[in-house]
Each structure stands twice: as structure tokens, then as C-alpha cells.
Symmetry: C2
Subunit: 325 residues, 2 copies
């Protein structure tokens, strides 16, 4: 579904979910024939919507399918700048790649790119992110922050806090943040964040922050079986993707406003409480270095501070972290 195109009938039925709307009302509202409405209803039924129709009474939306359609997001959330434009894809290569293209062509601050499936989902360092159809939330947000490039890691941290809070609120699961960009449940990866930017040396042109949340995955490919999990596996039953999604968007919008007010320390405070690294012994593997020590804190540039056994504090901007006992 492309920018700007929304199914108005679906929006109407969603807003009156459980009640009947007469064919006459619909016909007058949109200036279309009864036959056109009937066709639309059947189209929605094909998508999986359960719509009851009673002659001379009207249509009633009984149940939505498990889809993250823009109409559902709009109906179920109350957002100011986020998701004012939504690009929805049943299947796409990578939402981050698509978002970067859209941003390059001028897509506004807050644009949401969401897909039911990614065939080429990406993690950090070019790693793959397994994104099977309808099992998780695979999305990217286009942001145009007034920031210098070195401040961009703040967006990853903000996104991690928003996602952890949303998961905790909807499911009660003890979801933790692992620096720099993962969310863990019971020590296994349940979500990952990939922040990309277009910038010159003075300022950011745009940021694309992508997140993949494993919601209802029942299993994982062999190579990540030991390290990955889903909310369903932790929760014991299916989790409502739309609830997680809309809560995440709400939390992210709220925190982003704090970021815009140059109040990043407030977000860091929340991050510290949700972190699984701080105060623990960690092993750091960077591009050209390795070190081990105690994770002390994260600083205002999003760098991890490690106290090595020699007592020196190292500042790490980019690396893989593993927790040691």
C-alpha cells in the first residue's frame, strides 16, 4: 500500500468495530454504489477480515486478521509526528533499505516503513535478520533530527528503551537491553536495532532506525537457535503484534520528544535500569581490538565505558559484547 492511499471503508468499519454500519451510510459517505461497497467488503474478507453483512442492516467488522495494516495502526494509536505517513509492504527486501530510498527522495520526518516479511532483513555488520511473514514486527522509521553525526547512536539507545518498555508493558516479560543494539529475554535475542544515517560532516540529513522484534516465531534456523528467542516462546502463547507495535510507537514518540529537548540524560537513566550489561563482566570484540572488563556506563555519545582488569577505563564506540559469568 502506497503513501497516501488508505482504505477509507476499512477505517470506518474499524472505528465502529462490533457495530453495524448501513450500506446506505457508507454509500452516501463515499459517494459510491452498493455494488462497489460489496466488492470492497469482499476484498477485505480476502485479507482475512471477518465482516458480517445483514440485509437492510449493514456491515459489521467482527474480527481483524493478524496484519499490521496502516489502517489498524492509525485506528489503534494516537501519534503526533510518528507514522503520519506509512508505507506498508506484504513482503520486502529490507525495510531499512526502502526507508533510505524514500528518505533520499524526501520522505518526511516520522515516516514509517513496515513489512509483514523481509526477504533480506539486515542486522549490524551486514548480518542477516531472519524476518518470516507475520511472525514479527519488521519496521523502519525515517527521522530528520537536528543533530551532529556523532550523536546518532542516541537514536539507537532511544529506540531500545522504547521497545523494551513496550514489550514489558504489553507482556510483562523482563526484557533487557544489551549494548549497543539488542533486546534480550532470558539471555536470548528477541529484537535488534539497526540505525543508519545520511550525513555531511556538520549535520545529519536523515536517520533510518530499523527494528526487528521476534513476536510469534515458533522456531529459528539452526544457526541462531541457541541465541534467538521470541515473545511467544517466553510468554507461552501468541502475542498481539499490533499491541506491541502501537505501544512501541507511542513510547518512541514520547522518548524522541525528550531527545529533541536535548534531555538525553533522562533517556540514559531509563536505559541504565533496563540494561543487562552494566556492572557485569563483559567481553568486547571490536574491529581491531578485544578486551574484557566490567561495563561501567554508557556516555552521552552512546559509547560503552569498560573498566579493564588493569583498572583503565576504555571507551568503546562500536563492538560486539558478550556477557561473562
Amino acid at each position: 500500500m502506497k503513501d497516501g492511499y488508505l482504505n477509507e471503508l476499512l477505517l470506518l468499519l474499524l472505528s465502529k468495530k462490533g457495530s453495524y454500519v448501513s450500506g446506505e451510510e457508507i454509500s452516501e459517505k463515499f459517494g459510491v454504489s452498493r455494488t462497489a461497497i460489496w466488492k470492497q467488503v469482499n476484498h477485505l474478507r480476502k485479507l482475512g477480515y471477518e465482516i458480517d453483512s445483514v440485509p437492510r442492516v449493514g456491515y459489521c467488522l467482527k474480527k481483524s486478521p493478524d496484519l499490521l495494516l496502516p489502517e489498524e495502526i492509525i485506528q489503534n494509536s494516537c501519534l503526533e509526528f510518528l507514522a503520519r505517513k506509512i508505507y506498508y509492504y506484504p513482503s520486502i527486501g529490507s525495510t531499512n533499505d526502502e526507508a533510505k530510498k524514500l528518505a533520499q527522495n524526501g520522505a518526511p520526518h516520522g515516516t514509517l516503513v513496515i513489512a509483514e516479511e523481509q526477504t533480506g532483513g539486515k542486522g549490524r555488520l551486514g548480518r542477516r535478520w531472519v524476518s518470516p511473514p507475520r511472525e514479527g514486527i519488521w519496521l523502519s522509521i525515517i527521522l530528520r533530527p537536528s543533530m551532529e553525526p556523532y550523536e546518532a547512536p542516541r537514536i539507537t539507545i532511544t529506540c531500545a528503551v522504547a521497545a523494551a518498555k513496550a514489550i514489558r508493558k504489553v507482556t510483562g516479560i523482563d526484557c533487557r537491553i544489551k549494548w549497543p543494539n539488542d533486546l534480550l529475554v532470558e539471555g536470548k535475542k528477541v529484537a535488534g536495532i539497526l540505525t543508519e544515517m545520511s550525513a555531511d560532516m556538520d549535520s545529519i540529513n536523515f536517520v533510518v532506525v530499523g527494528i526487528g522484534i521476534n513476536v510469534n516465531n515458533a522456531d529459528f534456523p539452526d544457526e541462531i537457535k541457541e541465541t534467538a528467542t521470541s515473545l511467544k516462546l517466553a510468554y507461552g502463547k501468541n502475542v498481539d503484534r499490533l499491541k506491541i507495535l502501537t505501544e512501541f510507537l507511542l513510547q518512541f514518540e514520547e522518548l524522541y520528544r525528550v531527545l529533541e529537548e536535548r534531555n538525553f540524560e533522562k533517556i540514559l537513566e531509563e536505559w541504565r535500569k533496563l540494561s543487562c550489561n552494566l556492572g557485569r563482566r563483559v567481553r568486547i570484540i571490536g574491529k581491531n581490538f578485544e578486551l574484557e572488563g566490567i561495563a561501567l556506563d554508557v556516555d552521552s555519545d552512546g559509547a560503552l565505558l569498560i573498566k579493564t582488569d588493569g583498572g583503565k577505563v576504555e571507551r568503546v564506540l562500536s563492538a560486539d559484547v558478550s556477557l561473562r559469568e
Copy 2:
């Protein structure tokens, strides 16, 4: 002219410039008719090429027009990775914007985007770069360096050194570098560099480094009359754009190799010698700060080090600099 398409006849005539090539030879070489050759020759003449044709002797390229065509660049330079692909435009909005789009779509390391005119040329901080047709060199280079985002300013510095060296070598003009991204002649701006990048938090996806060199501009719009100059104005006569361009590409390729060998200090040494800032009193205006002091040095991240009157050394990543007496 699009990627991959080169005028083979022009390449042949250029390689034998001043000598006659028989119609028969051309016809056999490219498997085309004499009439087709005649049409091509007339097309080249319309571009401004002076081509002599003598019946039963052949064609002789006498003189090239003042154009930066890919065939001329290839014929007049000997480059390894740089300009293996060239995108040439008689007129374009901004070569940096075009290069970013090409890079997003996979254009390889070293791709050159060049235009005779920019209608929306850009400088730092969204400023305009006046780029009238055929008066200067307006180009962008796509690079895919193995670097972390904070190292990107090194590319600006490398490009500045390459351009200053090329201008000095071809014209003998005392061209100086003003941190962070300008080249000055007699205290006036003769060239500017705009480095942009696409990156995640761990590594750079691509860099686009753009440079605009005022070569044969005879005058400037009122608002920049006092601060801008051209090589022609400094040199007293027209300067060969192609010579400046090919020398710049050669210098840039050479220095880029030094950069790749992680030998940035060597480039900084050259930068220091060409700088007009170091050791001088400067006024710094950043986004949220202002300061005055002596410019001491540039560090390995490309930051300018300023000793303020209080004796403190400040590290400046992004700002405007003006020289004080």
C-alpha cells in the same frame, strides 16, 4: 552520457589527435558504414570538436572543445580505481545528490559524477555553490572506504590536499587550505568541498565527496563578490579545466591510497604545509558556540585544535572559521 556508454570513435580520434585515421580503418574497427561514421563525426563537430576530413585520407581531430567529457578524462589520465565509471551531465541539480542516488543503487568505489553546470550546487550547511556552465569543475566521487563514521572528515582533508596540489602544479598559484573545507587564493575562496556519507553506527556504507573549483569564472554574484575568486582571476588568463581535473584525480588517487594504508598522518603533514590557518589567530563560529584563539593543529579525526586566550585547548569538529589579523 550514461555509465558504460562511451563514444568509441571519439576515443580513437583522441588517441591519434593530430594524425589522420582513414575512414576504412574506422569502418572496419567498429563494423559500421562510412555514412554512420560521417554522422558521428558531425555529431562531434556539433559538440565543438574541430575534425578535418580529407577524401581518401581520413579524419583528423585538430582541437577539442572546452568540455570535461568522459572520453577526454580517460584519454588524458591514467587512473586505477578512480573514474573507472564516469557519469557526465551537461547540466544537473547537484552532483552530490546524483552521486548519493547512484551510490544507494550500488555504484562502485571510485565512480565519478561530473557536470558542466549545477543548477542547485551545494556547500556546507545547505549553502549555495554557484556553478555556471563550463566555468568550473563541479564533480563528486563515490567512495566505499573501510572506515568508521567518525573518520569520514579525513576524506575532506585528503580531497583538499589533492586539489591544492593540483592547482599549484598546473598554475603555480599559491593555493591554500582553510579548515575545514575551503581552498583559498589570495584570501578568497576558489574551491569548496562537501563530504557526505551513508553509514550505520559501526561503519561507512559510502562517502560522496564533492568539490567545486572556480576555474574560469570571470565574475561572481554580488553576495559573494568580496569572498570568491577563480583561478582565471588569479592567473590572469583562462586555465585549462581538463588539466586541473586530471591532475586533481591523479593526486586524489595517490593520496587515497595513503589513506587506505592507514597512513593519515602523512596526509596531515601535507595539509599542515598547505594550511592558511595554522599558527594564526582565528574566530570560530559553531552551531552553539563561538570562540577565538590560535589554530594549533588538526588531529587524526580532522578536528581543529584551538588555543584560546585563557590557554585552554579546544577541539572543534564542525564550525565556520575566519582569519583574524
